[in-house]
Amino acid sequence: MLELQPMLSALWRNKVPALLISLQLALTLAIISNIVIIIQERIEKIGRPTGIAVEEIIAINVMAIPQDYDMIGAISADMDLLRKLPLVKDATVTNQVPLSQSGSAGTFYTQPNQKVGGENSNRYNTDPNFINTLGLKLVAGRNFTNTEMQYYDPSEIRDVNVAVITQQFAENIYPGQDPIGKPLYDGDSHPIEIIGVVERHLGAWVDWSKAGNVAFFPIARNTQDINYLVRAEPGKRDEVLKTLVEKLSERDPQRVIKTRILSEYVARSYAGDNLMVKVLSIVAATLSFIVALGIVGLTIFWINQRAKQIGVKRALGATRSNISRYFLVENSLIAVTGIALGSAAALIVNQYMVRDYSQPVLTLVPLSICALLVLVVSLTAALAPALRAANISPATATRSV
């Protein structure tokens, strides 16, 4: 019924075109399965919760023009001004902009004067309004207070006494323990008490292996430039943005003020990943399309070449579905060969991808899904020509080609 034997020998006689299709399907599978896991990884990365209200926040950079500018005085005045603005929920001062790819980090230890075995963390110097401004969720302990704030010159060394940290950092540095009340050391003998834990925040760098390890300290330093974050009422961000530069310059014209919405920082930080996702998706789609077109072309060619045979078979009693089935089974044989080759190639290629280019490991599930996809593409492409073949009239047999 399936005429497998004659089908195989017919294929063998047309082995080069058949092999070329198998090869295309194999390469396609090898490429697509490796692409898909990269895309999947990047989409997961981009989709990680940031822990903050990205869409409602505006970042402001203030740079003083005079060399001996009183930044600390300016911060208090600016904060008063910003927090009183209509449609503004809250504002805070910070040494870095969240998710902006630029910030500060340090290594922290559990023991005084410890030098090895510390845990790296992103560090914010900010004020008590950061929880409300960023939209963080305090899950344990307390926020720091205004009286715990320290304002000082960048060249000064001051000991900081309290910190709020993320849950992830807490679990990494004090695994399985209640972090509240525990000390952090930054290489000397002075303990910094952990007074609060926030649910999560990715921190300044999205690509960092320790992203999510974040510590907040109640510090503002008298630097030449400083960052403010302003959180607007939901949906009012753009309205607030319009007046900010003007209001701040009005209060004190002695600075250069730049604003940018936080979502733009985030988009820029993920631009590389986004580019990979887009480019690789386009590649995967066009690849499938091109291969499908190739299969359509070749199947049509084959069928045209065998139009007479098909007519003869029909004249000898083959039904329409016999004919279509023949071509679909033939196509499946080719596709399965390609998929076998392609799976092997995919796994080999993936080893290099993992070893040399730090890409994710290809597991069986995505590989099987891609293999199935390739089979579906191949069969879909063969379907239309195969159905058309079934329409070849038995009368073709009696006409010479």
Binding site: P17, L20, I21, L23, Q24, L27, I31, N34, I35, I38, N61, M63, A64, I65, P66, Q67, T107, N113, K115, V116, P154, S155, E156, I157, G187, D188, T223, Q224, D225, R255, V256, A267, A271, G272, N274, L275, M276, K278, V279, L280, V283, T286, L287, I290, V291, L293, G294, G297, L298, F301, W302, N304, Q305, M353, D356, Y357, S358, Q359, S400, V401
Partner: protein, 438 residues
Amino acid sequence: MIGYYISLALRSLRSTPILSALMVAAIAVGVGASMTVLTLNYMMSQNALEHKDDVLFAVQLDSWDVNKAYDNANEIPWQLTYKDAQALLRSDIPTHQVAMHRYGFTVELEDSAIRPYTADIRVTTRDFFSLFDVPFIYGGTWEKTADGSPMQVVVLSKATNEKLFSGENSVGKTVVLNSQPFTVIGVIDTWEPSPKIYDVNNSSFAEVESLFVPFGLHRKLEIYSWGNTNGWDSGEEGEGYEGFLQSESVWIQFWVELSDSEQKAGYESFLTAYIQGQKDQGRFERPLKFALSKPSEWLVLNEVLSDDNRVLGWVSLAFLLVCVINAVALLLAKFLRKAPEAGVRRALGASRNAIFTQHLIESSTIGILGGIAGILLAFMGISGIRYLAMGQLDTVARIDWVMVAAAIGLALIASLLAGLYPAWRISRTNPSIYLKTQ
């Protein structure tokens, strides 16, 4: 004869418009995708200092934590501490040497309508311009004393000079930086190395800074770095700004020009001796290690061409390969369908070569059309990438003539390769079997 083959090729392509379009599209898409990615990778791999690759060296010293190696490929910090940079500057072995870092100032002009703005600054020693071959339009670099003691002089980029002084010779005029007056002593010409080879630590594809000020200003203006500052010994830091300068934080980029191997050997022994001396004073507790990297090596070491770029490069080449195989299959199908015609031609006196050439010309025609369409696609791809990268790749995402030529070449090679087997196959088939009565 070639004219005859070309007319046959065109006739044949026109007789199967859909199949022809399919093959042209396959080649075009393959070439377009690979050209887009390869252009990007090619531009990212450019070495603006190629002509001085044998004489320029980025200097790294391993002054890092005894407990933990620096976390990069060669386990030496990218940058130097301020005190080590100052010590190296005292050497008279290198032809030129540069200690520098990125910084920012507010910029304004006295009695001017131009609103104050912030600008990227390079704080550097005077040799920056001669070492990196930066051309001047007006004036020149500062005196050597400015590298050691505060002198408020500035070199402007061409664009800054346009903006502040409408492109006139501004040497001698005053620019106000962070409310301090600076005297313009030079204006450089357009100079846009990309990747920004001299500073790949702070985004490799950023623009060149717009102002340059001397290295002797640190103490007077309490200048910190706007690039990375990495420390490991937070406990030891002394009081005040001086404490920061004397700390173990690394933040100074250092380059030297060593004209021959003798000079290089001399400099290497100088570095060895320096590190030994520091070891005696209790610094440099790790095993003695330093590195002098040529610009080309520096680009590789810093992974300016990222893993993602390399992955995209391979993906696009594999993609092109699939497109070529696709074209082979379709061409084979097409040529085999016309095999009887080839048989008749053979019987009428066409040699195998004639048949082969005729079909190869047909596939080359497809290649040329595909190549041209591929270049258009590559232009679209490149602008797509500029858009997706949100301006971060503008300096590298562009096509130059080399790449246009390469694209046409690639398309031709791809289609010739694709046409080779089918054309050979058709020229080999025995004509007699197609002449038989059916």
